[in-house]
């Protein structure tokens, strides 16, 4: 029970930190970035965050099956019995 309480407290602290970070970033970066006509390079396929989704999914699944950590780019679940 005590461990559960501590874990939940840590989770709440983590979520609080994340929300503060997001809030801080959104307010501080409100005017960061190029003008609309300078978005040409961002339109390149190679500049997308995930250029080959099938390859990324296969790699993430492969790492999930061999390592203790998961998540980061996306959710923490793995959807398989390999870990």
């Amino acid at each position: 029970m005590q461990n559960d309480g501590r874990r939940r407290a840590r989770a709440r602290a983590g979520l609080g930190i994340a929300l503060l970070c997001v809030g801080g970033i959104l307010s501080a970066c409100a005017s960061v970035g190029p003008a609309a006509w300078d978005h040409d390079l961002m339109a390149r396929k190679s500049m997308q965050l995930n250029t080959h989704p099938d390859l990324m999914a296969a790699l993430e699944h492969s790492y999930f099956s061999k390592e203790g950590a998961s998540g980061g780019r996306s959710f923490v679940g793995g959807g398989c019995g390999c870990n």
């Binding site: 503060l20 409100a30 003008a35 978005h39 396929k45 965050l49 390592e67 998540g71 996306s74 923490v76």
Partner: protein
Amino acid sequence: MQLTPPRRGRIAQALGLLTANLLAATCAQAQALSPAADAPPDAAAPRVGVNDDTQSDVGLTRLNAAVLFYSESGGRVKATEPVVSVTVNGSSGAVLTGRFTVDTLTGATPNGAAPWTGPQTFTTPAHAPGTTATVTGSSGGSTLVTIPGTGTVARQYVTPANTLPVDAGFRDLRTAVDLGYATPVWDGGRLSFGGSASTERDYRSYSGNAGLSQDFNQHNTTASISAEFEYDRSNPFFGTPTPFTVMSADAKGPARTKTVTSAVLGVTQVVNRYWLAQLNYTVGESNGYQTDPYRVLSVVDSVTGAPSQYLYENRPGSRLRQSVYFGNKVAWGPTVTDASVRFYHDSWGVNSVTAELSERVPVVSWLYVEPLARYYSQTAANFFRDYLIAGQPLPAFASSDSRLGKFQAQTYGLKVGIPITGHSEFDIPSSEVYFQVQDYKQTGSAQPGGVVPGLAHENFFSGVQAVSVFAGWTMAFY
């Protein structure tokens, strides 16, 4: 005694504020340093990569087909994974995605027992409860035997002396379906939904997710929040063993389940004309059965190391995972750098750092190459044990799964892309074939600290070394 929680709360609060301020300062500096901020639109414009399309996705359909060949050294797991997927972009900005994956797996996996100076014999059930069909056959060096006096049919396999025990009877087939839909809901806002289902012979998983993203700041900033719920059902071939009971041929208990609830908070920022950055915070809690039903621990003599029993492992029923991911894409002329780092922590005591770096380099109009490197490091879970000592009280939880042990991993690879049509940015239909070859190697300590004298010359590290080849084809058309 009551001072601890508030003190942690204050520390967490202070850390949060400091982090937010640090990131805010970084963003402000990035703005000040942005070369695009004061430059005319075309000044120092790098040439768009000769084989790098920039077509609009509106109304575009992408078809993809690929196959992954994966092989671990030492006769361990081999996998072949074909996948097909489609992405349909509507004229209104809505996007529908679907993916179908099949995964065939064979080979040997460590069973969790410690190596020993003599041969070791392991006995497991041969039949699923209520059936007479042999669940894994006699492949992989296993034999079927009848336990004297009981009539119970068992599967047995023998591990040679001074060898890490593996069960060679591993065979599985996984099929998975993923669906997703995203649609604009208001100016700069997008709503997304998704779901997936995955089935194996002994495991099923279902999940659903929803997310909301919002663009700000002339589409330079995107904030997103998404959540997922996953339901898993573990139905091992011979039932679910009771934790810390002796490995045997007896039928085990019924199927067990677990749930995973997770959320991702993210910010994507176009920092300047050349640099795209992403910061994610992910949190997820798993509750339910998380023990590996096939894995055991050796109970060994405190001096000789001789195994007296093999006990089924036991893991906590709850796990809270948190991670921070920071990804970057930077255009350097026609080449693009992808650099990311992830910090991970969970309530089982596993802490890890992951760093990845790749560089896409166009060579000629029909070819680009992308060398990549990845480094991964993790600490051991607080209940990780290489073995248990006979005569000592059992711990609350214990597992010898190397994925919960301390290790590092290095990955080196090369991706090669060959655009077949659509060499210029507006050529439609366009297609591309691509290949990625990579080498993955885990390294770690061969022996735990304070190893019992009789096991001082054994190698306990069961890390993976694997080679994989991924070949894919993608076509886009309106």
